[in-house]
Symmetry: C2
Subunit: 199 residues, 2 copies
C-alpha cells in the first residue's frame, strides 16, 4: 500500500510518499516540498500547488492520500492558504478516485512516537528510524508529511476498505452530479444549477 | 464585459453572471447556487463545487471572475469550507487564464447601495433595480454574488487591464512551472520538486 501524506501549506506544502502495510517494513518512496512565492498572485499560487501535487500523484501513483486536518486555531494570517492547499490535495485525490483520509497532527505524532505532543525533533528521529534512512529526510519540514503517511499505513486495513467503498460512492455521485448539471444548465437564467429554485 | 461573481460556500456557493461596462446598462446573464449536502464526504463536496463552477464557466464564458474575500473572523466551523470553495473558484478561473479579483463584502455592498454596511434587503433591492429585473433574483442568497459581479464591472477599466497583464504573467509562470516540475520529478527521491533541497 502506497500512501501520499500531505502537510498542506501555500508557501510550503510537504509531500511524503511511503510504502508499507500494517506490521510490515516501511519504505520511503519520495519526499519533497511544493513551494510557491509569497509575493506571487494568490490564484497563481493555488495553481502552482495544484500542478505540483498533480505531477507528484501522476508520477508516484499512491493508493491513498492522507492530508493533515487544518484547524482554525492556527495563525489566522496563513489559515486560508493552508485550508485551500488542503482542499487542493483532497480534490486532486478525489478526481483520481483515490481514498482521502484526514489525520490531525496529534494522530500523526502519536502514530510514529507514541506521544501526540512530541516535538519536531522527536518526530523526525522516529520517521528516520522507521523508514531505515541513513540521515533525516530532507527538506526537514517534510518529515510531518512522512509521519502522516506512516500514520495512515498503520491505520490501514478496515479503514482502507471503508475508504474504497466511499470512493465508489464519490464516483457515482460525481457522475450523477455531472448529468444533473448538464440537464439543469440548459434551463433559463434564475433556475438553480442543482436542485430546484429556492428562496 | 461579462463578470462572474462568486459568493463562496461549501453548502451553498452563489454564482451570478452580469454583463455591462462602467457607465453602461447592466444585464443579468445567469444566477444560481451550487449546492452540496453537509452530510456528504468532504472531498466529494469539493468535487461537487468544482464541477458546478467549471460547468457554469464553460457554459457562460465570463471575461473575469470576482470572488468574495473570505475573512477568518467568520464562523470558525464554516470558514474552512468557505476558504476552500473560494480557492476552487480562483483555481478554475486561473486554469482558464481568466483574471481573478477579490472584493470584500463591504466593497460589494458599497458598490450597489453606496453603503458598505447595507443590509441584505437593501442589497437585493438595488441588485434588482440595477439589473432591471421585475422581481428579486432567485435563489435569494445569490444576490450577493450578483452584487460582487456588479461591483467588479464598475471597477473595470484600468484594473481590468492590470488583471489581463497579470494573467499573462500567470500563464507564463505556470508554463515554466510545468517544465521545471517535469525536469525535477525525474530526479532521485529526496530531492525538492521545486528549487533545491532545503533544510
Amino acid at each position: 500500500m502506497r500512501v501520499m501524506g500531505v502537510d498542506p501549506g501555500l508557501t510550503r506544502c510537504g509531500v511524503g510518499v511511503v510504502e508499507g502495510a500494517p506490521g510490515k517494513r516501511l519504505h520511503l518512496v519520495h519526499v519533497t516540498v511544493v513551494r510557491t512565492a509569497p509575493d506571487e498572485d494568490h490564484a497563481l499560487r493555488l495553481l502552482g500547488v495544484e500542478q505540483g501535487i498533480e505531477a507528484l500523484m501522476d508520477q508516484l501513483r499512491p493508493d491513498a492520500v492522507a492530508v493533515e486536518r487544518v484547524f482554525s486555531q492556527h495563525n489566522v494570517r496563513t489559515v486560508m492558504g493552508t485550508a485551500q492547499a488542503a482542499g487542493i490535495a483532497m480534490l486532486a485525490a478525489a478526481r483520481r478516485g483515490l481514498p482521502v483520509a484526514l489525520h490531525t497532527p496529534s494522530e500523526a505524532k502519536a502514530a510514529v512516537t507514541g506521544n501526540g505532543r512530541a516535538d519536531k525533533a522527536q518526530v523526525t528521529r522516529m520517521v528516520t528510524r522507521l523508514l531505515n534512512l541513513d540521515a533525516a529526510p530532507r527538506p526537514a519540514d517534510a518529515a510531518d508529511a512522512l509521519a502522516l503517511a506512516i500514520c495512515h499505513v498503520w491505520r490501514g486495513g478496515a479503514q482502507q476498505r471503508l475508504a474504497r467503498a466511499q470512493v465508489s460512492r464519490i464516483e457515482e455521485a460525481a457522475r450523477a452530479e455531472r448529468e444533473r448539471l448538464a440537464a439543469r444548465t440548459t434551463t433559463a437564467p434564475g433556475g438553480g444549477s442543482r436542485g430546484g429554485t429556492v428562496q
